[in-house]
């Protein structure tokens, strides 16, 4: 691709602008968490964090069970990721390769479920979970989150499978592979980038989910970070420094997860041929 000198400088600038927009509010969270209370209402805003205030992070870590919250959030997010991908692979394959009665219904049903707001479902879900003894457990929360995420990633994985030429599978069938083997050993590696994307989507959903985490979990030991953060917003006052500090601590692990998931994408690309 011929690149002109203009685009050579334009591209990096555009990328920087993009990163700036994406990261600025988080940067602002960092700054706010470290701006002394008296300077929050100054005439000229502090654009840089006052590094002397960095002790707030240590303090927050000590006095507030942030580590436990983050761990619970991690368990829920990881569980949602694993569960939803496992559940989604087979239907995605079926939607892509098979024509059978009910496939249209399944496909449409997967969409229909996305139209339901969590607020609407939480009341009946609470009583179903009560009957199944799934209340107040992270496992129950994982199940609830998975139900919401599976439709999206099923469709995304289906889209990726659509792009794999059938000759590849037919060749494997000639060799006598069973359908399951084909799916696991041949199809999956070829859609690695999409699987990584699916993993990221499920992880982020489980990580940030609030409504179910709030209602289905009643013990403080099992509280996730999303609910923990909300509990700071008090009746009478909000400790803005602590809230922003916890907010920053809450954002970083998910970003790091994406960094790792991305590595896998790159490895997946160089290992197998995706481009047809």
């Amino acid at each position: 691709m011929t690149a002109s000198p203009i685009s050579h400088t334009l591209r990096p600038l555009a990328v920087l602008a993009l990163l700036g927009i994406a990261a600025f509010p988080i940067y602002w969270m960092v700054v706010t968490s470290m701006t002394p209370s008296s300077e929050l209402f100054a005439e000229r805003p502090n654009l840089l964090p006052s590094l002397g205030q960095i002790s707030i992070y240590g303090e927050v870590f000590r006095t507030i069970p942030v580590a436990r919250w983050l761990w619970n959030s991690f368990v829920v997010a990881a569980g949602t990721t694993v569960f939803s991908i496992l559940l989604a692979i087979l239907p995605a394959y079926a939607l892509s390769r098979f024509r059978f009665t009910g496939i249209a219904i399944l496909g449409f049903a997967l969409f229909a479920t996305q139209m339901l707001p969590e607020a609407m479902l939480v009341v009946p879900l609470y009583s179903i979970f009560g009957k199944l003894s799934l209340l107040n457990s992270l496992f129950g929360l994982i199940l609830a989150n998975t139900a919401f995420v599976v439709p999206v990633i099923t469709w995304i994985i289906k889209g990726a499978i659509d792009g794999i030429p059938l000759e590849v599978e037919e060749a494997a069938r000639m060799d006598g592979c069973s359908r399951i083997d084909i799916v696991l050993a041949i199809v999956l590696p070829l859609i690695a980038p999409t699987l990584a994307a699916a993993a990221v989507i499920s992880f982020f959903h489980g990580w940030n989910e609030y409504v179910f985490a709030q209602t289905l979990i009643s013990s403080e030991q099992l509280r996730t970070a999303s609910v923990g953060l909300a509990s700071f917003v008090g009746e009478l006052s909000t400790p803005i420094h602590a809230v922003m500090a916890v907010g920053v601590m809450y954002t970083l692990p998910a970003v790091i997860f994406y960094l790792f998931a991305q590595r896998y994408v790159v490895a997946g690309m160089t290992a197998g041929s995706v481009k047809g």
Partner: protein, 406 residues
Amino acid sequence: MKKVIRGIMLATTTVLATAGYVSATFAKDKVTFAAAVFAEAGRGDRVRAWIDTFNKGQDDVEVEPVAIPFSSLANTVFTQMGGGGGPDLIRFDQTDFFAAIPSGRLLPLDNLINEANFKFLAPDRFMKVDGKRYGLLFDTTGYALLYNTKLVPTPPTDFETFLKDAKAQTKEGTFGYAYRATMAERAGFWQDVTNFVYGFKGRWSDGKGKLTLNSPDVVAGIAAYKAVYDAEIIPKGADAATYRRMFWEGKIAMNVDNGGVAAIFNQNAPDLPFKVAPSPFPDKAQGLIMTALVINANSKQPKAAAKFLNWAYAPANQSALLQAMGTNVGTDVPLTPEQTAARPWLAAYAKAMENALPQVVQGFEDKTPEIQQIVLEQVLQVLQGGASPQQAMDKAQALAERRVRR
């Protein structure tokens, strides 16, 4: 690929094993106590410590405090109660308390606690509906004028002087006053409007089953609210958390607010020179904040919960609770001179409570949220939409009557 699958299996098992962890059973009866205050900066830890003294002092019952975010306390707990579960003990604010009663979700307490043993404060009478007691007054406070003595040496005693003082103080980054005027803070917005309305002798209903949203006194209160808005003396759009912080950083001169806020100011800025005076309105009546400590009708441990209640209302423990909360508690607690000196605002607020009225619409308690929404939207029309107070309140009256008739 096989390695990856094995890795996934291992990960799944680990995750599920951790997630399925079940906590060990305790020898004591466990009772959960849900409240928003446990997560509050400063106060939360003190109240938790107070509960801890109960837990350490006996071997039969253990109370587990559960902090629930304030903004979603009602939704969460109501959903859980409706589903047959929920915490054993809950601290509800008045709107939610009155909403929960007709649905039978609160355990009547008449058999579990003997009233004669305790000297409840006057607002405790609201805990009884149709002769049955549904809750115990947990903490209560009134509204009064908090003012920064450096900016306003003498507090105003009537509304005109108040406006004048506030205008004089609005300069160079400082504001004369602050209140809520955004839907994002619906509950607090309602409290502030109610104070103005009560202060101009208005009442939301006549107590006999008729709404009086457009009575002349109520309209006068709304007009006063608008006068403050138009005078440009408030940081418009600021939420309460922000302007309370501005107050203790010395950027706001006056603020009508409740006793809990006075405690917050003192805690965050011990050197802040502020005092408390009666609100600068024609009528002494102001809003009353009261929270109720209730037992969930679904609770499987009512006797254990009752044990905690009896302990909580013993005079010594009430005194400790007052120190922890910073506001008045359910019973009358005599204060030592040192305690009074440490919290000089308590006396002023105790006086304000004498004339205080609940902030629910009397006779329409469980419809209050809908009436709130209607009234506040009309108030916003007055403040930002250019409607006249009379017009707006007539509309509110019509809409509200239609709603409550349903």
